[in-house]
Symmetry: D2
Subunit: 342 residues, 4 copies
């Protein structure tokens, strides 16, 4: 399904060149304050325009269709739309025979029997991440209301681009090579309660990775020490408990033991593949003629999509954590009630 | 929940020192041949006994409780039990105040308010992976019946142990240091149909990682080129299509584009942290006294749990793929009917 | 949740006095032809305007937001909006202290802690049934495409109004009494395949009743002989099989045995309570003053809401059957592929 | 699926003539006291032996496989088995060609392609209601722990048998006619909190009817005034609010408005069809020969299955209410924590 969550459920919809993309969220608690301004910062962070990102202009003002009344959630399903502007559909028809390398064109055509909206990637477009970001804004607010005293903070940053910790340098590589580059993004969540997650099948790692791999171009995820754990001894990897609140001296577990949050910082990293659309000339198949053709992308595209991913990753984490809090935490409504329902 | 899947649903249950661990599977097609012998090979592969694994004796003969009649699935829910033998519960009570480093003892106690079965890790025990392996055996058979002509093959192998590709050498490190080590396991699936998965939230990466992180000690996963993609240019990472069946010249995508299988080999790797129980002396907290104590594990334990993981990872992959086939593939019942329902 | 279905999932959203009500449908097969005109007939049947129904003018042109391209479903989530016109919100604020008898005002206020959109019933409004009808139109088309040779027909009719089989007579009672009346609606579905449903928990009766009780004002449902079975002998109630296709001489089972469709006509009836808004003066509580007050409804309202229910009941049945076909039928994709995927 | 619930999920399994039938319950809160004795009363009420019920001897001692430790739930999945005794499988093979009228034999054969366990109804057997009763016992205890101050009581009774309020008289009809009879069972739940249920798709009526129609032989359900509402005026059907707690002067709504509990008694009735196995000679088809044959049931069978239904209906209601409390009530964990988690 194109949805996520058990009792906090996010449904995503829309296509790159349709009228709108949007999100429908079921299971929002009532009384959460939501205004258009709440979305500005995160939507701004996702926007193109920085060095290395596409100049496509997207205003991205959220339009509230349902579930909000007097600037507060009502408890009924929340629907938010984002208008698609600045789309040019003209040239897609003739490109259909030449599936873009690294894109979903070929699989979309096969999966949907040729009925897919093929314009600009259709439903597979990165454009839909604006809807994920919006769901993230709502999820962050819900998380804050569920555990108001915790002051839970979700923050993602870029660790490296094009193999360089100096990010400008990594981008310059792509510019010099007339190519695109990938990157690594890290997300940290502080002050989570102990006890989120289930031992099997709904571990915190399971649920967060499920959400994170919804972000286009993500190809790997690791928690805490992650892949480096393969080279560690057990006595070094184990995090020693230092007090009764669960604080540990190190955090190789990334805040999760046995699939359950242990009260330490939640830490995970994802890898974002290089943008598939690259100005470099590539060989690909024309599925009509059966010939291999030269192919290069002319239009506006990100040199490095990873630059726009941090806020989307925060959103995916927030969506996953909100569902974990509602579905699997023993105290899930404690603070919500304290705050809202006197 | 302690379950996985949308219309092919696997429910896991049991505790390390209870009478049984087991699995309940809903959504099995009828007519799949299942006998006790079908489980032998995979259960044998999971067993301890090899160098570096614990000598705990586990016979692990599956007991069929429901859903099988005349050695075939009936289409009603399948329940399989495995008897727990060779458990010694005596010493656990007094160890409760000293949560084992790297284990779920502390979080289990917090999450379940002290009511958890704390003997041998209880429901968090690696013992439950025998139930996952059993679900994997069933899932592999279902996959074979859904696409009989494909001859889909799921195979996982160890890539490195303790940082060494020579695995004996990696284990020797642990023996020399009286410590434990981690490892990396790779899984490859050949001949999958094109079209499994959904673009958002139920991407193949999402669903497989969700299942894979149910395996205790897994802390990272990557698909295709994985984390190495962070250092690649787009023109190198993109896999060039070379024929109309979807075959690509390289496979950096690991068989998945836009969250959807593209007909190439599915390739992913996981990292398994070093066994948390290590003979090395460690410092940890006594939660009753509040003092930090020395702690070391006396009993039987694996030096490297990764050695037993490949068959469990195959099982997790098979469970995930079976659900993907039933829930998201346009031709999900084609060959099932062809084979069974003439 | 405000959603229905396992792998064919319908999400409903909107409020009576918001900008739109709508529906998001995940799990539509691709290639189903959908145009605005396809909705006209069913939406017309739901409309007010006939004797006994409210004159509120509702144009109700579906606006397609996602999932449709070139007049066909794409396989990605389908979102349809209906604009709310002709709403007057002015007087609701002051009525809040006096919950309307028979309506959800009181429970909505309690459940949503006072944050509910209280204008015109908000999310509880019968207005949302236009979204159910739209989902029904889509579901009927999907059903037709899944089993094209069957020519499955879903048709609901009014059996009685105000206790009268002569419906005009029943309505006249309400007019004479300046009150409202209820009714009974029957739905029949012909040419269903054998094998829909599951023996426990997802019986056809379970799934259809789950959907049918989503329609506001429905307070009972019965299948086949229904409540009359309480007075029958077993030898009379049993339907004798008369041929190998499953045809039975009688149909007291209403087409369902053991929770599974048996190939005969599916027959069920629902009772619709009298419209809660009635011109008759009633006593009710002012929750602010604590006094019992006289109360009567001035505005436009249906004398008998049952008159508008048949098309909504068809829609609920179609939604339920589409999910049953996709999730539980052994041959679920046979004809879909035959029809669409050559 | 053969499961029920969103975050409190009950999975049923087993066949009439297998070794065991059983139940797996995921989502139990930890710390609920559960002993074998807790099941005695409800299991005794379900048992055959009374006038009009079959003399099949069933000891029905629950065997706890997982999720219970020191006589309390642990918070991990709970699995309970019931051994099948006293089964005679010998004669079923030759009866396969003659599907029993009113039973699921024919549809099971079609749905499961001939692989169904056909002995004694297999997975469709009323025998599985012992597992529903067990899940009901657990659910009742959970409900009590979630709202300990409410003293919620769930009680079902027989209203009529064979069309007679004097139940002995109704049974005598069946004995005199050498036939079977049906009945009506009513369930009442007192002291429920306000606010369970959702306006669309997960109304309390939807969720309870979904569960109730899992009980074999149930063919109708009505809430409050139910089908009688079809003959009432709105001003009579509306229940006047008489105080701020939500108490109403009458209870025609059966405790549910807008799909949400309103704090009054929850009242609903189901109809149970006459036992399909009747000593009366009936005509039915031999699907091998194609001939219509005379058929009568020789063995032990209930004259009126409705006699055994009340405790099963209570169980279905308890399962549904427990899920509603966990998934949809704003205060779902309030009292649980108060009671258990000091």
């Amino acid at each position: 399904m194109n949805s996520f969550g058990r009792i906090f459920r996010v449904n995503i919809f829309g296509e790159s060149h349709g009228d709108f993309v949007g999100i429908n969220i079921d299971g929002c608690p009532p009384g959460i304050s939501i205004t258009v301004n709440d979305f500005s910062e995160d939507i701004e962070r996702r926007k193109p325009g920085a060095k290395g990102t596409t100049p496509r202009k997207e205003d991205d003002i959220p339009e509230f269709v349902s579930g909000i009344f007097n600037n507060k959630t009502t408890g009924s399903p929340l629907t938010i739309l984002f208008k698609n502007n600045n789309t040019r559909s003209g040239d897609y028809e003739k490109q259909r025979a030449v599936p873009r390398p690294g894109h979903a064109d070929f699989v979309a055509h096969k999966k949907f029997n040729g009925f897919e909206d093929y314009r600009g990637g259709g439903h597979f477009s990165g454009r839909l991440t604006v809807a994920i970001v919006a769901a993230g804004v709502v999820s962050k607010k819900i998380i804050a209301s569920l555990f108001p005293e915790n002051k839970i903070n979700i923050h993602a940053t870029i660790l490296e681009i094009g193999g360089e910790k100096d990010i400008e340098k990594g981008l310059q590589k792509a510019i010099d090579e007339k190519d695109s580059v990938g990157g690594i993004v890290e997300c940290r969540v502080t002050n989570l309660p102990i006890g989120l997650g289930e031992p099997f099948f709904d571990s915190v790692e399971s649920v967060i990775s499920h959400a994170a791999f919804s972000i286009p171009a993500v190809k790997g995820i690791e928690f805490g020490a992650g892949f480096a754990a393969a080279k560690m001894f057990g006595s070094h990897h184990n995090d020693a408990l230092i007090n009764k609140d669960g604080t540990t001296a190190t955090n190789n577990a990334g805040g999760i033991l046995g699939g359950i949050t242990n009260g330490n910082e939640l830490v995970f990293r994802i890898v974002v593949k290089p943008t598939s659309s690259t100005p470099k000339e590539q060989q690909t198949l024309n599925t009509e003629t059966g010939n291999v053709e030269s192919f290069s992308v002319k239009g506006r595209h990100d040199l490095c999509i990873a630059l726009r991913v941090p806020v989307v990753l925060e959103a995916a984490a927030a969506i996953a954590l909100a569902d974990l809090m509602m579905a699997s935490h023993p105290d899930n409504n404690r603070d919500q009630r304290r705050g809202l329902n006197v």
